[in-house]
């Protein structure tokens, strides 16, 4: 165990070490099993806190109450009205089209898709988008053993335009699942696989095509699992990948 690194392990996992130290620590971890085990343990805790932290949800009544109270404030005076309008426009610019989606009241499906869009964007924005880096499905799939309470099949990509980049653990509705990152041309696509129960099970059994924050999404359930394919690739590409996953041996 290298003491000089121990104090930096959490900062490393938070992605906040300077780039040169990040590289040094990366290299150190490959040769120091105690530090690697320590990092893994801290990573598990970080993920557990992430999942445990998502605990409380506002009621529909309360959401409606706040929406009404904001609307009432906006009507109070022309100045307020303009401030409100500016506020709304700025929020639209800043957080995308979330407000448009939530305007009509979020359904369970919309909420799930919205969370998945967030997860997909967070993955792409992360300095370490995947935890297992491999283009080989026979490397990626076994990596999930013991980390999630189910297994799944991945398609053979030979002869297709898709490339597997790797995978990571994801959480939806406090349930762990698999996130696989595929690439087609310059587009990256996330495939999420969760057990079809709890919050995920409330989405119904039908296959769904949708658009969320301009991402194309395909979703279906198969063998007790719920699949989501999401990305900024064309609807056709997303459907192609979904079909390959459905027919994976």
């Amino acid at each position: 165990m290298a003491d000089n690194w121990t104090a930096k392990l959490d900062t490393y996992l938070d992605g906040e070490l300077p780039a040169d130290e990040m590289r040094e620590l990366d290299a150190h971890l490959r040769t120091c099993p105690p530090c690697a085990a320590d990092v893994l343990s801290r990573l598990q805790m970080k993920r557990a806190v992430h999942s445990a932290g998502m605990r409380y949800r506002p009621s529909a009544d309360f959401r409606q109450l706040v929406r009404k109270s904001i609307a009432a404030k906006r009507r109070q005076s022309p100045i307020r009205m303009w401030a409100g309008a500016g506020f709304a426009i700025a929020m639209l610019l800043i957080v995308g089209f979330v407000s448009l989606v939530s305007k009509q009241g979020q359904t369970a499906r919309q909420q799930a898709f919205s969370e998945l869009a967030d997860l997909h964007v967070a993955t792409l924005a992360s300095p370490n988008p995947v935890d297992v880096i491999s283009t080989d499905r026979h490397t990626v799939k076994p990596w999930f053993q013991g980390k999630i309470p189910f297994t799944f099949n991945l398609p053979e990509l030979q002869g297709s335009e898709f490339t597997l980049l790797g995978g990571r653990i994801a959480y939806l509705g406090q349930s762990p699942g698999a996130e696989l990152i595929y690439q087609i041309r310059k587009h990256q696509i996330s495939v999420f696989i969760f057990q079809d129960r709890g919050a995920v099970g409330n989405l119904g059994s039908s296959a769904q095509s949708s658009k969320e924050l301009s991402f194309n999404i395909e979703s279906w359930n198969q063998a007790g699992l719920r699949y989501f394919v999401i990305g900024d690739a064309s609807g056709d590409d997303i459907r192609k990948l979904a079909d390959m996953l459905k027919n994976a041996p």
């Binding site: 320590d38 598990q44 992430h50």
Partner: protein, 161 residues
């Protein structure tokens, strides 16, 4: 309403009470609407909203009580390795989700908020610093202490159970 679910969740973690969390969120949106002119376009909107929520909390009854009992920031004790067989790995193996939630709940509020903003909201240190109006160095030191306190708390719970 952007960030509504996240702000509510965070407010509940701070206040530990549904009615108070609802008041905090409602007041946050009202204040954001009133004070939107003070928001500078191009700066971090999420951090701005969290800062309003957090300031609202600090002036609430629970917030005032919590701030009177917060842990000090100074800490000279060395960082300990998490190790292969730590309480957290044992706990995670047993999937004791509620156990962890109780341990987070029991943290002093200044530890709880920094830990949740980092690990749950996945904010950068800079974003947390803006949200909590504290220097980045303090963010790092509180995070380190919060994680250490969480590990110790889990260890104690493990021994008791």
């Amino acid at each position: 309403m952007p960030l509504f679910d996240q702000l509510y969740n965070f407010a509940y973690w701070l206040a530990q009470d549904r009615a108070e969390a609802e008041d905090l969120v409602q007041e946050t949106y009202v204040k954001a609407l009133k004070g939107f002119s003070s928001f500078q376009l191009g700066t971090n909107f999420r951090a701005w909203m969290y800062r309003i929520l957090r300031n609202t909390f600090l002036t609430s009854r629970t917030g005032l009580k919590a701030s009177a009992t917060i842990a000090l920031d100074a800490d000279d004790s060395p960082e300990l390795p998490a190790g292969p067989e730590t309480p957290e790995t044992i706990f995670i193996e047993h999937s004791q989700h509620q156990f962890l939630q109780a341990a987070i709940e029991a943290l002093p509020v200044n530890f709880r908020e920094v830990l949740l903003l980092c690990d749950m909201e996945e904010m950068s240190y800079q974003e947390i610093a803006v949200s909590l109006s504290i220097p980045i160095g303090t963010v790092m030191s509180r995070l380190s202490r919060a994680r250490k306190a969480l590990r110790e708390s889990l260890q104690q719970k493990m021994v008791r159970s």
